[in-house]
Amino acid sequence: MLEQYLPVFIVLGIAIVFGVATVLSSIIFGPQRPTTEKLSTYESGMKPVGTTKERVSIKYYLIAMLFIIFDLEVIFVYPWAVQFKKLFHEFGISVFISMFIFLVIFEIGYLYVYKKGGFKWD
């Protein structure tokens, strides 16, 4: 266990240090001469137009919600996929059929979203 996961934590630690060091290095080495224009929002040299406080289309939230649902389904498939060969030798085709039923139910949900216009972007 330790032999496997200790390196992961070391990698994560070094990656964080590397990221922080890179971002800080420009603050250390670069000049700091801020002016009002320099610190204003980018707009091709003109006065900035519009704000970022506008509302985002509801479709994006829909996508996020669909993602959570479907991604959870993917995670349910993984343990089955890893054990499939072994279980198939032991229990035969029923291993496949049970997952197939699961996927069919899942597909009905997908078709329902499709029919309701969940995948329309214009």
Binding site: Q4, G19, G30, L39, T52, A81, K85
Partner: protein, 345 residues
Amino acid sequence: MSVLEIIVFTVVKIVLILTVMLLMVSYLVYFERRVSAWVQNRLGPNRVGWEGVLQPFADVFKLLLKEDIVPVKANQFIHTLAPVIALFVAFATYAVIPIASPLKIFGYEIPLVVADVNIGVLYVLALTSVGVYAITLAGWSSGSKYSLFGGIRSSAQMISYEISMGFSVAGVLLFAESLRPIAIVQSQGSWMWNAWIQPIGFITFVVSAFAETNRLPFDLPEAEPELVGGYHTEYSSMKFAAFFLAEYANMIIAAGMIVTLYLGGYNLPFFNIESLGLANWLTVIIQIGSFFIKMGVLLFFFLWIRWSLPRFRYDQLMSIGWKVMFPLSLINLIWVAVLIMVFNL
């Protein structure tokens, strides 16, 4: 092995791989510029050093000495945090990709992968999901409308393609019976590549990898004509470089993952090197070579696609993700399961 030995070996491997990664990223940028120039019949950077080989270093030093600007409208903390996340993800993900079979040296048997975990594939999928945060937070915290739209687009795009990516990987797992990258490589042997067995899964995975790395034809988050620089419009100096590095590092990781999952990893194609009975170190060197050549070909493919295909419209991009890639990856999963049952592999 004792804890101390594990730490020493890991740190040595990380330092080596980090150096190789940074060099590869720098030269991928150079390579991209030269290939782009070649495709467009121009010269490209050829002044700094012989044929411009020192150009990437010149670029990095230039960016290092530039002023770090944080716009007044930006959220100071998150604006700084976003590039850190991007770099963190880019360099942590590489840890589980094996580049050769174990090296026997000084009586130790060292696996040539930083972290040989049995959940390797999940680790990669999890970290690439964290990568979405970097782009979304960068877009949201900049206080610029271009950044915001870039960030929103990018997050929607990445989560859409993650599902087909997940299902394509499930097809590989059916064969390998493990989430461990080394086991996946070994399950393919020298010629039974997953790319031959499950071509649909291979294609959906490659397309999803393009979308996940925001490469053309899926580079909507930074579509220059409409969004200036996309999510990194308001970034300068090394923070900009961080996003840039992360993008190219993600390309390299995507190529490494495709090689590991579908193209037989470090094994030589159609030829079992271990049957020759060569010395261990020679085998390892040949395997490293084979891995990097496969990766290089794939990276060239990435660049080639960039200059061959036009950018998708946003609704087309989302439609392909949900209406084409997703059903195709499901069909692939069923196909692989049926294949295993019929041929009793």
